[in-house]
């Protein structure tokens, strides 16, 4: 059974948090979600079907030739980073001072 603590755990794994009311609304929503999901389980013999992860079957996919092509410059890659240093994105040290 889904609990508020489990929801907080899922959110933490996804690296965000919500306020308490947000978790309450999510919990309420899960009741509806489970009812909806149960409709899928009602389909007869569904477990015997191979899941579909792509709209249609592609029998072969072309790979391009292994030659270098245009790529972003260093400046372009760093253009949106808020802190940079020595051509890299700067973040706090992993180990302390």
């Amino acid at each position: 059974m889904i609990t508020k603590e489990k929801l907080k755990d899922y959110a933490a794994k996804l690296m965000f948090d919500m306020d308490d009311e947000g978790y309450d609304r999510t919990l309420e929503e899960f009741e509806t979600v489970e009812k909806h999901m149960a409709l899928i389980g009602e389909i007869e013999n569904i477990e015997n079907i191979e899941p579909m992860t792509f709209p249609y079957v592609i029998y072969h996919a072309d790979l391009r030739e292994d030659v270098a092509c245009d790529c972003l410059t260093n400046d372009e890659v760093l253009a949106n980073a808020k802190e940079t240093k020595a051509n890299q994105v700067k973040v706090p040290k992993v180990v302390g001072e």
Partner: protein, 481 residues
């Protein structure tokens, strides 16, 4: 209201210049922005590349989840509120090279995850036909920009019906071609196995013109399809006599809607009238039965697959290489803070659902079963397509909802008629919505979904139906300037 073809003629005959077209579009964009909010960014400086294509000099708008180099691209989310891409989406690049003139980046439901046009970080989009109503989503601003007559076409994306539903609510044409027909490179991914690039236009012919420019193999998108070297615009006038259409009994039989509201009943009555008109011009149209259990399971399966894929696709939004940086003493805290502040509550609820679906103990029961349901439905459709050329259905069970409808939360009520268009995403089928008249003074649409890879035939069928319906290019009188 002028179509692309009309504007092309005007440009070629020097009735108007592309500068004048841009100035007019820019003026209208500013005029309607406060009232209807279609744009995140309005481009005030005309940028046009030399081209002799049919779209050269034509103004357009593009949804703000397409990467446009040097132009803010937010996906209508605070987590990208200051993001300026360093590369172009292929679809945008192709339109630039065709000489199209960008008028603005349009509002969407945040990260394309919504169907109301109300969850974008810069505010709600109002329906040009009635300001107290939604225009649907997620491609809300793109639909509104065409419905208001600001531009003759715009680009959107469609993962569950995000072009085809707002097209119905906005009284315009919305086309989602076969999966892979238009490259998704540079489209911010929502659910990669369901995402499609498509367009809004004033008529089916224009949708064919735009798709002709956009289609083709892209080395940067390995799911893109080779160009078949045909032009869809050359196919839209083909004879359709003997082409076979089907509609689903369980979605359209009035006897099954005894407790429905008058709006729904009127939508269905108009749909039946449309069926007769189709027969009168030479289509063979038949009613087929579709297991109601499958139809009811479409929405849950769509939510399962899309939330799971979205949770994964959006894990790159950390505020480190781009986006507003969070605060914290270590990298984990910084990412946590950025994501907590940057995503709205609705998006967080969707991601939590996606995470729940992907937990090891739930994968079989939820994620894999949704994939199985997807295959059952797609197989059933492909079986039907051995006999029929297209499916035709109402695009929605009613008109555009008012803003005080329950909009934010997942509704306990599910309406099969509201969610069938996800079939087009499950199987990658080409699918188009065209106007089908009015109910309660609001536009309604019908949806035509064809066989995979047969975009030309689907556009041909839609064009012939559009001709006989008589609602081509409908526009509210005050916008028809």
């Amino acid at each position: 209201m002028k179509t692309i073809v009309d504007l092309r003629n005007d440009l070629d005959n020097k009735v108007v210049t592309s500068d004048e077209l841009f100035e007019k579009a820019n003026k209208l964009a500013h005029k309607y922005q406060d009232e209807f909010n279609p744009f995140v960014t309005i481009i005030d400086e005309k940028i046009e590349e030399e081209s002799n294509s049919i779209l050269s000099g034509i103004p357009y708008a593009i949804k703000d989840n397409f990467s446009t180099k040097g132009i803010l691209s937010t996906a209508s989310s605070n987590i990208l509120k200051d993001y300026v891409p360093v590369y172009d989406a292929t679809a945008y690049k192709k339109l630039k090279e065709a000489g199209c003139v960008l008028v603005g980046k349009t509002v969407l439901d945040e990260l394309a995850m919504g169907g109301t046009g109300t969850t974008g970080h810069t505010g709600i989009v109002r329906n040009p036909w009635n300001k107290n109503r939604q225009i649907g989503g997620s491609s809300a601003g793109s639909a509104a920009a065409v419905a208001l007559g600001i531009v003759p076409f715009s680009l959107g994306s469609d993962t569950g019906d995000s072009i085809r539903k707002p097209a119905a609510f906005g009284g315009v044409v919305g086309f989602k071609p076969t999966y892979g027909r238009i490259s998704r490179y540079g489209l911010f991914a929502f659910a990669s196995s369901l995402d499609h690039v498509g367009c809004f236009t004033r008529c089916v012919r224009d949708a064919a013109i735009v798709t002709d420019i956009l289609k083709g193999k892209d080395e940067r998108d390995m799911t893109s399809l080779p160009d078949e070297k045909v032009k869809y615009v050359d196919m839209v006038d083909n004879d359709i006599k003997g082409k076979k259409l089907f509609y689903i009994k369980e979605l359209t039989d009035l006897d099954l809607y005894k407790d429905a509201g008058e709006e729904t009943l009127e939508v269905l009555r108009k749909f039946k009238e449309t069926i007769e008109k189709c027969k009168n011009i030479g289509f063979e149209v038949e009613e087929v039965s579709f297991d109601e259990k499958l139809l009811k399971a479409i929405y849950p399966a769509y939510m399962t697959i899309s939330c799971a894929e979205a949770t994964s696709n959006n894990s790159n939004l950390t505020g480190i290489p781009f986006g507003p940086r969070g605060e914290g003493s270590n990298i984990n805290e910084i990412m946590f803070d950025a994501r907590t502040k940057g995503f709205s509550e609705l998006i967080k609820r969707r991601f939590i659902l996606g995470s729940y679906i992907l937990q090891r103990e739930n994968q079989e029961r939820l994620f894999k079963n949704a994939g199985r349901l997807r295959r059952i439905i797609v197989d059933k459709m492909n079986e039907l397509y051995k006999k029929y050329d297209a499916m035709i259905l109402p695009a929605s069970g009613g008109v555009a909802p008012t803003f005080d409808c329950e909009i934010d939360r997942m509704s306990p009520r599910y309406l099969m008629l509201e969610n069938h268009m996800a079939i087009g995403n499950f199987g990658g089928f080409p699918s188009i919505t065209i106007p089908n008249g009015f109910v309660s003074d609001m536009p309604i649409g019908i949806n035509i979904t064809g066989r995979c890879f047969e975009d030309g035939l689907t556009l041909n069928i839609a064009n012939k139906i559009e001709e006989v319906l008589g609602f081509k290019g409908i526009v509210k009188e005050e916008y028809d300037v």
